[in-house]
């Protein structure tokens, strides 16, 4: 594959207007663009070379030396390479517009809408409308993330100004026989808040409007105003509760890369272990919920018991059921000496029972029938809309896993771990072999991105995670200091070291942290302000890219502008009653998306 440098030579009309900044890490390149069109052209080239978009960050640097808003695109290639593209909005005619890459990477759309609400900057080629995260209760042009706005000023402005008219979604005239079915934002189960508006013809879902942003809590502004670099982990682990550890780990990595700190190997091992524990308990929860949605309550409750066992193991190890308060920039601490054998036997036993139960659900004709071809997301759609994580893997993008593509922590240093991970990602190709042995279903072709595929991937990943945990435990056992470096006594030393190294970092440097959580890749972009403050912290949860993908999986597939045709191929349709099942099989985070 061609390197990004040759891409720049090939595509940029003015290669001299592109400056390369010195690398901070061997796999990280950083370019400053002066010409927006070249930036867009380079992104088109990158898409063809199968780069993935990690995140879009906007910073308000109007008070700093560059005197402008800045847009940063972060991309990664399959060759473990990270590319940062920087562009300052210095065009005095359009100081609030940036070159958009949405035509190339459609998944950036939600991020762009959020940026429009929070900064008031919009893409050059399109009119934007607000309302992505700031709904009717907020006045127009609030721009909460401008650097000069304080929380008090924002609140005063919101309270003094009359609320906007609620932005009612457009009501175009539907063809005869079709109607709207609004659902939410408050739902009937114990689930999060978001609004769905179905366009239904009979029972078939023709289209779906998603209205998210109800849970917008202003997290990014809170990072800047209330937290410092060494306390921000507290907020990071509450961005999305079920990915607490993954989020805090990504945050910690960002701060550690900023401070260029090397961690002891044990810390990496423990972090990987907790990450896999989180993956296990969440996948088990989802499989249980899927079984429940298929009215197979017997299996659902047995699986829920397994989930509780892992959660209690978390509590034994760290003192918190959701793995909070263990991870902080510079290290990890456990609350007591762990019994490695007990961890191993619990994990082994739970996964063994779980695999059996998972197999039982899949073998039951009623369940299989319910899942097959329901909520299908084709490979090409997943690729186009940048689906990440397990959703992408279930659609056949089987190596879309940050643990392989951009290894971090223990995954970077231990080849064996990556080998284990690629054993699961190889399922589609080798579907006949490992799965047939265990009596798992055998497909004719690839994983086709339906509910069953996501179910299978979940079950398979639990097994992989258990294998990874066993490997990590063996590695720990061979080192006598497996506890000494993560005992609570070490915490002050770790923190002092962190503060010390942060002092040498220049202001307005940034660090990147990335983790493959159970839902998909999580990116943190942390920029240091004066002292130990955070100037900007951009959180990118995997749900941001997967929501549009879920919409596609639900609606009846048709080409743009096609009339409603009741005789369309049946396997591409989903009916209303499929929605809960599909939603569960994706299980996206509303909280992580809304920020």
């Amino acid at each position: 594959m061609a390197s990004i440098h040759s891409g720049i030579r090939e595509t940029c009309r003015a290669p001299n207007a592109v400056t390369e900044l010195p690398r901070r890490a061997p796999n990280e390149t950083h370019f400053v663009f002066e010409n927006g069109e070249d930036l867009v052209r380079l992104c088109q080239w990158a898409k063809q070379e199968s780069y993935h978009l990690c995140t879009l960050v906007v910073t308000d640097e109007r008070q700093l030396e560059d005197n402008a808003f800045k847009v940063w695109y972060v991309l990664h290639s399959a060759q473990q390479e990270l590319v940062i593209l920087e562009y300052a909005l210095q065009d005095s005619r359009q100081p609030f517009s940036f070159p958009s890459i949405q035509a190339t990477f459609p998944c950036v759309e939600l991020l762009e809408r959020e940026v429009f609400d929070l900064f008031g900057v919009s893409p050059l080629d399109r009119m934007m409308t607000g309302g992505a995260v700031l709904h009717a209760p907020y006045p127009d042009e609030l721009h909460p993330l401008w650097a000069n706005k304080s929380q008090a000023a924002l609140k005063a402005r919101i309270n003094s100004q009359a609320a906007r008219q609620p932005d009612a979604p457009g009501r175009e005239h539907l063809p005869a026989g079709m109607f709207y079915l609004p659902v939410g934002p408050i739902h009937a189960g114990v689930i999060e808040a978001g609004h769905f508006r179905f366009h239904v013809a009979g029972e078939v879902i023709e289209d779906l409007d998603l209205v998210l942003g109800y849970k917008h809590k202003g997290i990014e502004k809170l990072f800047e105003t209330r937290y410092t670099l060494d306390t921000g982990w507290e907020l990071a682990e509450r961005v999305s509760g079920d990915s607490s550890f993954a989020h805090s780990m990504a945050y910690c990595q960002a701060v550690e890369s900023l401070a260029s700190i090397e961690l002891p190997e044990t810390v990496h091992l423990w972090r990987a272990l907790f990450l896999e524990l989180e993956r296990i308990y969440n996948h088990i929860t989802d499989v249980s919920a899927l079984a429940q949605d298929m009215a197979f309550d017997l299996a659902a409750s047995d699986i829920a018991v397994l989930r509780e066992r892992i959660v209690r193991l978390n509590a034994d190890l760290t003192g918190h059921r959701l793995l909070r308060k263990v991870n902080f920039p510079g290290g990890v601490v456990l609350n007591s000496v762990p019994n490695l054998d007990a961890i191993k036997s619990t994990v082994t036993e739970v996964t063994r029972t779980f695999l059996g139960l998972g197999k039982m659900v899949m073998d039951l004709a009623a369940c299989r029938n319910r899942m097959i071809t329901t909520g299908k997301l084709t490979k090409c759609e997943a690729e186009k809309f940048g689906a990440t994580g397990l959703v992408a893997r279930a659609s056949g993008l089987c190596d879309h896993d940050l643990r392989l593509k951009l290894p971090f922590g223990a995954y970077a240093s231990m080849e064996e771990l990556r080998r284990l991970v690629s054993a699961t990602v190889a399922i589609p190709e080798a579907l006949q072999k490992p799965w047939a042995n265990r009596g798992m279903p055998v497909f004719d072709g690839d994983l086709i991105g339906d509910v069953l595929a996501r179910f299978v991937i979940r079950v398979a990943e639990v097994e992989t995670s258990a294998n990874i945990i066993r490997l990590l435990l063996d590695r720990m056992r061979s080192s006598p200091s497996f506890y000494a470096e993560v005992s609570p006594q070490r915490r002050p030393a770790y923190e002092r070291r962190m503060v010390e190294s942060l002092r040498h970092v220049q202001n307005y440097e940034f660090g990147l942290g990335y983790v493959e959580g159970w839902r998909g890749d999580i990116f943190y972009w942390v920029m240091k302000g004066p002292g130990d403050t955070i100037f900007r912290c951009k959180v990118r949860d995997p749900s941001v890219f997967n929501w549009p993908a879920m919409r596609l999986a639900i609606v009846r597939k048709r080409n743009e502008g096609d009339a409603y045709d009741p005789s369309g191929p049946p396997c591409w349709e989903n009916i209303l009653a499929d929605f809960p099942l599909i939603n569960k099989s994706f299980n996206l985070s509303y909280a992580g998306n809304d920020g």
Partner: protein, 201 residues
């Protein structure tokens, strides 16, 4: 790694085990009630209301329904509609975007009662001071006044939630003043239980 074949438990065995549990009246997994008051007969229908949580509290609320905590054996149930609910379980720091929806949900209840689950719902937790939330005392009056119980924790463990729920009176009817509900008022005589409506023999 571990390549031993996984045996599938047979459906029959699961059923038999469950049945045995019913016959000998011994639950398979469930913990003993964490509070003696939970043994009283009670009927509490709870409706969950998400006001911007991080979804940690939802995880623990969901865990209450698993066979270990098995909240329904105490007569507590999660309901799908506010119309049928005795009380709302509110999570999250009360985001501005959800204010209207939360108000409407409360209005749809027969009596406005709220349990605040988690630190966020009590005082905003880590999200306090954000421009986007109206935590604690800044919340609308009707929400603040409807709170009858607070469960601290981030998130509170299922056992903690159960212990707190034990403080609820076994019958919530008549516990609060009627809330001006929107027309037509769905007033059901609360004192009239289904027994008194049956013709006497």
């Amino acid at each position: 790694m571990d390549k031993a074949p996984v045996k599938k438990p047979s459906l029959i065995w699961l059923l038999v085990r469950r049945l045995l549990g019913v016959i000998v009246r011994k639950p398979l997994y469930s913990i003993p009630p964490p509070d003696a008051r939970l043994d009283q007969p009670r009927s509490v229908f709870i409706r969950h209301l998400d006001c911007g949580s991080c979804n940690g509290c939802e995880l623990e609320l969901n865990a209450l329904s698993n066979p270990i905590y098995d909240i329904e054996r105490f007569g507590i149930r999660f309901e799908a509609s506010p119309r049928h609910a005795d009380v709302l379980a509110m999570t999250g720091p009360f985001t501005r975007n959800l204010t209207e929806a939360a108000r409407l949900t409360l209005e749809a209840m027969p009596e406005p009662l709220i349990i605040a689950i988690g630190d966020c719902a009590m005082n905003g937790g880590v999200f306090r001071n954000s421009y986007a939330v109206t935590a604690g005392d800044a919340r609308p009056d009707e929400i603040r006044q409807a709170i009858i119980l607070e469960v601290p924790g981030c998130p509170p463990a299922p056992v903690d939630i159960l212990k707190k729920l034990a403080e609820l009176p076994p019958d919530l009817s008549g516990a609060a003043v009627a809330f001006p509900s929107y027309p037509p008022p769905l007033v059901i005589e609360r004192s009239m239980s289904w027994r008194s409506t049956m013709p006497s023999r």
